[in-house]
């Protein structure tokens, strides 16, 4: 039996009504092991204007690189208190932020490890279909050999790697640029 997947439609401007109950800025509650990180940024349109009505969803492994999902059959102990899912809306000026723990490395094709990353879905009014991207971490030696980063021409790879933020120190900055010279890399997923 073969069916065709239902056509995607935009979340429109009023998604808050249905999606707000799962807004979650802190992915890792107290007691979850791992290096605490804060990632903040903006969603910007073709004119560089902040997008006030976007919603981002995050999915990540725990600090050991294990996903809370039955298809992750790696022999790692896992963190029952860590689900790995987050959802945040943007503010009037397009800003968003979330805190989590840095994910560990997970397997990629050919059994090689991927560099630590968070997968991201971007929804907003004006997008008939979600955009998919990834957040990688700065100064990570494994980035150089990462399979997904190597699918991307080198000049654009930096859009997928969070930057160390000056203010405040220790925070990471990562932006979603929808269009233009600094356009974020989006994946056909």
């Amino acid at each position: 039996m073969s069916l065709q997947a239902t056509t995607s439609q935009t979340v429109g401007p009023y998604f808050r009504i249905g999606m707000e109950w799962l807004f979650k800025e802190d992915l890792a509650g107290p007691g979850v092991a791992g290096e605490r990180i804060l990632i903040a940024g903006r969603v910007l349109d073709a004119d560089g204007q902040g997008v006030s009505d976007a919603v981002l969803e995050f999915w990540q492994a725990d600090a050991q690189g294990k996903y809370a999902h039955p298809d992750d059959q790696q022999e790692k102990s896992g963190q029952p208190a860590f689900q790995g899912f987050g959802r945040v809306p943007t503010a009037e000026d397009g800003r968003f932020r979330f805190t989590t723990i840095k994910p560990g490395a997970v397997p990629g094709p050919d059994g090689k490890l991927q560099a630590p990353h968070i997968v991201v879905s971007v929804f907003m009014r004006g997008l008939l279909r979600r955009l998919v991207t990834r957040i990688y971490f700065p100064g990570e030696p494994a980035n150089a050999a990462d399979f997904a980063l190597n699918l991307v021409e080198s000049a654009r790879r930096a859009t997928l790697i969070a930057m160390k933020s000056e203010q405040p120190a220790g925070h990471l900055e990562w932006n979603v640029v929808l269009q233009g010279p600094d356009e974020t890399v989006f994946f056909d997923c």
């Binding site: 065709q4 239902t6 009504i17 249905g18 298809d71 397997p107 008939l128 994946f187």
Partner: protein, 234 residues
């Protein structure tokens, strides 16, 4: 060893492009560079699951969330969540949101000059059962004007958000009603090249779920990406 089999990609023409000029706000919000094809890895074939204990049983009845009854025509919207291989998708989260009977959303951005209904928020959620079924009781949403073009009106619709088993299966869509004269003119509904794919967004009037003296029933099945066959499934 982990099963790293990926999910199927859409049939040509059945999913919208990001840039769809008749939908004006897609122009400044769609990428200009081609998407980069990403083979699915463990990151894409896994995804969040949601606990039934966190979902209030009343959340699937949008007509009983306040003291009084909402205005408008009561309806039942039900169906199944399946994958492209025809397998049911059990225990997956569905979130819905919609305008009230007058075509007004309970949202500060909606300035349409139509009344709010103190007895209707327009928010629902449910998990599918073991057979992939879901059921919402709500009121038929009203059509409403928007600013996309001169005299633009959205056909009546209900927003659906569905997760499925993996990051790769995430879907947000809209359900429409049969016979709505506005469908012909709606750039969002008309976003796909494939007419059959588009028409699958229209629910089907259904006697089986229509209850005498109570409400009309509409059926809306949702299909998520299906897994490519695995070596041990053959």
């Amino acid at each position: 060893m982990a099963n790293l089999t990926g999910y199927r990609r859409p049939y040509p023409g059945t999913q919208p492009n990001h840039l769809h000029p008749p939908y004006v706000s897609s122009e400044k919000r769609s990428p200009s560079k081609p998407l980069i094809y990403l083979p699915h890895t463990l990151s894409e074939i896994t995804g969040p699951a949601f606990d039934a204990a966190k979902i209030d049983g009343k959340a699937c009845d949008l007509t009983r969330q306040h003291k009084g009854e909402p205005l408008g025509e009561r309806i039942t919207v039900s169906g199944r969540v399946l994958d492209e291989n025809g397998h049911v998708v059990p225990r997956t989260l569905i979130e819905i949101w919609q305008a009230n009977a007058a075509g007004r959303y309970d949202h500060k951005v909606d300035q349409h000059n139509a009344p709010l209904d103190p007895n209707f928020t327009g928010r629902g959620r449910a998990l599918t059962d073991e057979q992939g079924r879901y059921r919402f009781v709500t009121i038929r949403p009203g059509e409403y004007p928007w600013r996309n073009h001169y005299n633009a009106w959205r056909p009546a619709h209900i927003h659906f958000s569905v997760f499925g088993p993996a990051f790769a299966t995430r879907l947000v869509t809209q359900m429409y009603f049969p016979g709505d004269p506005l469908l012909t003119y709606d750039p969002i509904f008309n976003c796909t090249a494939d007419e059959k794919a588009r028409n699958r967004l229209i629910s089907i009037f259904d006697w089986e779920t229509t209850e005498p003296d109570e409400r009309l029933g509409y059926k809306f099945d949702i299909v998520l990406s299906g897994r490519l066959s695995t070596p041990w499934e053959k």
